[in-house]
């Protein structure tokens, strides 16, 4: 295979205007966008976001789409310590602000009701975002594909979409694990996802389940390896790894 130099196609980036912002947790916010020529998207896809400073400095980051297909573009961003883009998006952004987006991107880490299940969704921290798009898509389509969502967070305060996930609708089971601290009287899992936990939570292999695992690299490695070891065919385990800090 060869080497080539490619000039960037100027048409791929589009201007996006912040239409609304809402707080999810003390560190995460959802931003709703107005993108004039938004082509629509599939659950699991992401966009690249580009911010431009007055002096011409630009920074790009990838964020998973939180809204369902058919809904306007929404991103949920969790602030990363010292993250220059996530800090702006979660603390500065307000309606009317401008940035650029490229996408939607992704053809591997995507799900639609026609793919069936049963579905095992495993989220580490902000890895919940693309999986929430899948749950919304399922709900809007009136799909009855059985779902189990295993969601690992540091503490209850870090859980994104907590109230939405409290009543996820028929056929969806949500299992939380809180790895650093738990509220008083917590009876749920209180440790990092491991093989014994997955043995209790994951759909049995015999049902032909489909798994989507998203979060920090170490979380995705641990979960996907455990699933494959327990018999899930590798091609039925889709993975999306964020950086060590769970995004930027």
């Amino acid at each position: 295979m060869a080497r080539a130099a490619v000039r960037g196609r100027l048409s791929t980036w589009q201007v996006a205007t912040v239409a609304a912002v809402s707080s999810e947790t003390f560190r995460a916010r959802t931003l709703l966008f107005d993108v004039r020529e938004w082509p629509g998207h599939r659950s699991g896809q992401h966009v690249d976001v580009r911010l431009t400073a007055e002096d011409g400095y630009q920074a790009e980051r990838a964020y998973s789409i939180a809204s369902a297909p058919g809904e306007p573009l929404a991103l949920t961003v969790e602030r990363v310590d010292d993250g220059e883009v996530s800090s702006w998006l979660t603390q500065e952004a307000r309606p009317g602000d401008l940035m650029e987006v490229r996408g939607p991107i992704g053809g591997y880490f995507v799900w639609e009701p026609a793919y069936g299940g049963p579905l095992l969704l495993a989220a580490g921290g902000s890895g919940i975002v693309p999986l929430r798009s899948m749950l919304r898509a399922r709900s809007l389509a009136g799909s009855d594909v059985p779902v189990r969502l295993l969601y690992s967070s540091r503490s209850w305060e870090d859980v994104i979409y907590a109230s939405e996930l409290e009543f996820p609708g028929p056929g969806v089971q949500v299992i939380h694990t809180l790895t650093r601290s738990q509220p008083p009287a917590w009876t749920g899992y209180a440790r990092r996802v491991d093989q014994p936990m997955l043995a209790e939570v994951a759909w049995p292999v015999s049902g032909g389940p489909l798994a989507y695992v998203c979060g920090p690299t170490s979380f995705v490695e641990a979960v996907s390896q455990a699933l494959v070891q327990s018999g899930y065919p590798p091609e039925r385990v889709k993975t999306e790894r964020f950086g060590a800090t769970g995004g930027t």
Binding site: W13, L51, A53, Y57, W88, L98
Partner: protein
């Protein structure tokens, strides 16, 4: 700084997290090369997984001279070492001032070595390479560093030992270095092969080939 790229709207209130050039702390004026900004953290950049070589198997070798040399970790650590404080400049535009290192000078490692090679190619665990003229390794300009910030150099920053050539862009300060190959002709290393400058002087902003 470059003008706003054509077509990109300015994002209100967004700026790089660190201030550029002359707005650094007292004494930093003139120490930051063109196009760089000051950082106080130490970003970890890597082109691959962090190698973990047991010290019992670690060696540093110099090949290509009339008689090749090699040191085990114990032999290497028995060599005279020195402490130094220096500024470092990454081609990704961050500069960090007053970094504290400890290492063995290349003057010591190359001492008495018979060769007429003008160039060297550093090779490392994990396969990384980078090229440096031998003249830039001598005269108190380069070290094999095993200590950083008063302690042992951490694996993510290139430990147990890395090359340290602070007057060139920091990609030349090869992490996880295991030796040098002395060469008659300059040969591109890993990043040079993909379009980065063969020499890499931050003061002449030699980032890419042809700069």
């Amino acid at each position: 700084m470059s003008p706003v790229p054509r077509g990109s709207p300015v994002t209100r209130g967004f700026h790089r997290k660190r201030s550029a050039g002359s707005t650094g702390p007292a004494g930093s004026t003139g120490r930051i090369p063109p196009g760089q900004y000051l950082t106080t953290d130490f970003p970890v950049l890597s082109a691959g997984p962090t190698p973990r070589t047991a010290l019992s198997r670690w060696t540093f070798s110099i090949a290509g001279g009339r008689s090749p040399r090699s040191w085990t970790w114990e032999e290497f650590r028995a060599l005279p070492a020195e402490k130094l404080t220096t500024d470092i400049h990454c081609v990704t535009r961050w500069s960090k001032l007053d970094t504290a290192w400890e290492g063995v000078s290349l003057d010591v490692l190359l001492e008495g070595m018979e060769h007429d090679a003008p160039y060297a190619l550093a090779f490392c665990d994990g396969g990384y390479t980078t090229n440096v003229p031998v003249a830039d390794l001598l005269g108190g300009q380069a070290w094999v560093a095993f200590g950083y910030g008063g302690g042992p150099l951490g694996a993510e920053h290139g430990g147990p030992a890395r090359l340290l050539v602070p007057h060139l862009y920091f990609w030349k300060s090869a992490k996880w270095v295991r030796g040098l190959r002395l060469l008659a002709a300059d040969q591109p290393g890993f990043w040079e092969n993909f379009g980065y400058n063969m020499y890499g002087d931050p003061w002449r902003e030699q980032r890419y080939a042809g700069d």
